[in-house]
Amino acid sequence: QQQVRQSPQSLTVWEGGTTVLTCSYEDSTFNYFPWYQQFPGEGPALLISILSVSDKKEDGRFTTFFNKREKKLSLHIIDSQPGDSATYFCAASETGANTGKLTFGHGTILRVHP
């Protein structure tokens, strides 16, 4: 049972363009949504996160949007750079529950061409 779905599976953009990755989830108790960035040979690294009380969070070139009604979130990367080429995972959890478990999406492979 896949509770967090990501799309697309892979994406290629040109340097300077805007990248948009999306996620949807099923469990309405989820209220914390981190995005992770993973380079080959490394573990996933926390990139940006958002709580369900917000609809937008920005960190430099990275912005995540949250739509509670539609149970969807997205990650936008403006001015995409070749160094952004990586696999991106969205995840979800319920803060306040007695568990620290995250449910991960399957990931999106991003390639940014110079």
């Binding site: 992770y36 573990g43 996933p44 926390l46 620290g100």
Partner: protein
């Protein structure tokens, strides 16, 4: 502060061998997770500890996979006996609650 460390970074095993992977979480983090990562299955949770107590022992992995947390600063994942289908990257993560912080992983190849 030191991040999550994992050793070894690479491991090659013969089918049927026993291997032990090691993880040192970030100091002060109460939660520790072991994951298996493959291209097909993505990130699969193997085990989850909270304050050294086993909270979840990923169902399908119970028979040959055993994670232990001997103290708050060290955990092991034993695979016994190994099979070729166990070839994957094994990731350890720790958390103070909320975000998880991952180690670099151990890439396991079982021949």
């Amino acid at each position: 502060d030191a991040g999550v460390t994992q050793t070894p970074r690479h491991e090659v095993a013969e089918k049927g061998q026993t291997i032990i992977l090691k993880c040192e979480p970030v100091s002060g983090h109460n939660d520790l997770f072991w994951y298996r990562q493959t291209k097909i299955q993505g990130l699969e949770l193997l085990s989850y500890f909270r304050s050294k107590s086993l909270m979840e022992d990923g169902g399908a992995f119970k028979d040959r996979f055993k994670a232990e947390m001997l103290n708050s600063s060290f955990s092991t994942l034993k695979i016994q006996p190994t099979e070729p289908k166990d070839s994957a990257v094994y990731l350890c993560a720790s958390s103070p609650g909320g975000p998880q912080y991952f180690g670099p992983g151990t890439r396991l190849l079982v021949l």
